[in-house]
Amino acid sequence: MPNKPLNVMANARGRLLPFSLPFRFFLAACFYQSLMWVLLFLNPDDLITYNGGAGPILSAVHLLTLGVLLMTAVGASIQLLSVSTLRPMRSLMACRLLSWLLIPGVGILVYGMMNLSSLALVIGGSLVTIALLIYALLVFDNLVFASGMGVITAYIWAAILSLCMIVALGIALIMDYYHAFLQDHTFTAVTHMLLAAYGFMGMLSLGFSYILIPMFALAAFQNKKLAHTGFILNVIALLLLVVDLLITKNLLLWLAIFSGLTGSVCYLFSMYQILQQRMRKRLGFSFRMIYLSWCALPLSIVAGAMMKMGIIKPALFGVILLLAWLLMFLVGILQRIAPFLTTMHLAQGKAGKVPTQSELTSELSLKICNYAYIASLLLLISGLCFEQSLMIRIGSLVGLCAGLSLFYFLLNIVRIKRAHAHSVKPVAEARQG
């Protein structure tokens, strides 16, 4: 019997969260992204010499990981999960609470990291921790009875388990500033960062790729064996990495790198196979960001190995991992799902012509965002390679342009959605009249 195709649209409208819920996370992510670029602009020398520790670079890293990557992932996943598992989120109130805690919590926590303010660290850390626990519970509740999603569910479980470890390590790191109980603060911090990037964000982006890429490209996801092999290799790599960082110190690292590289090749080949047999050939400008981010995934693992050998700086590895792979992927995906979700919302119970996705898309801001984003990456990488703080400053300014363009892109969607919602009648009323 052929593989049953994944049904991600059945009664999807019934499982749509209020429009404002995912969008508040997306808009907050744009705001925090802009702040991150401002911090990098103000502290280029700190970035070149960064080797861990509190201060502006740690704040910028957390603005990126918590403020941008996590924020976007939470906003997108609470909506996409309920659509793909065919189960609505159990509690809308919990989703709202999650946003009320996470959005300000990140700001307070980052302020604490910047100024080493214990009060801000405790308050911000607590808000973010509670928010992430609520998120983990929401996802757990939604996934526990989900069936037929195979490798997608497996990736999301791995992401949630990583998230629990990240939170635990994060709390330990904050407490260590005051009680100095960790044997090795640096290795714990590196584990926390790598788990956040490869474990939570990475697993989530790999898992959701198997829903989103076939959906946007109109293609089937058929080679499940390859996808499962990729998943197993990626999880093994992550486990080896964590064990190595916390216990064996360098003994298993090269195995982890090899396993991670093979796993990422399996994933990329899976994506290639999906795209090869797609029905829609033109995938639009945002897919170029996704393609580039895919190139950065194995590159980030190679960069990690090079950093370990002392060939490149930790900051360069961080830029390739967080900005070139994860952020670029999220930006590309966000540019597709924001208009898509909006058209679904606009069609809810309203008569009349729903704007098309391209009518919701400000092409100019999308182009500025993507070109500026690529340029800022190149400038940052060059600035780090040649230790040129001016290049990093210019790269940060160009990155800020990209962030603000994305902000405008989303605000424009909100504006059109609001205007349309006021201009059309509910279906029942329209049909009577």
Partner: protein, 167 residues
Amino acid sequence: MQFEYQISRSIHDEHQNTITYLEKLETELLKHGHDKAPDLAEGDLGSIIWQLIPLIEEEIGIHFQFEEESIFPILDTAGDSGITFLLTEEHRTILPLGERLMELARGTRNNTLDDETWSELRRLGIELIERLVSHIQKEEMGLLPMIETLIDEEQDAELSNNYAMMR
């Protein structure tokens, strides 16, 4: 995509043909600016515009009618009226758009096209492509997988037969 039932495969094949055509139409429409009508005798544009007529009459008209009369009631009975509501609303937007495009395409019979007509044809053509691709996306990801879970072999044979008769 791999589908078990004949009716899902037929609808899927039509989607594939429609998208192949729409991509050709998109390529041709985007080759020319919106304000100056191109010479239809040159290149493939004329024949591709002409192919809009059977696409809208047969692929879209009959396809939509069959779905609304034979497929959507199965989903409604199974309690999933959300997707049928959404798809029916989209049919109501796409069909008038297609009908207007068909009128414009018929006007190009002598390979003549004024700037104003071209501008409208290009604008509506691009709109049709986007709406239809998005509609097919929803049917491929939602409707067809649902049909596969809701019907049996007997119903499949009956639906396939009815569809063949309509065509």
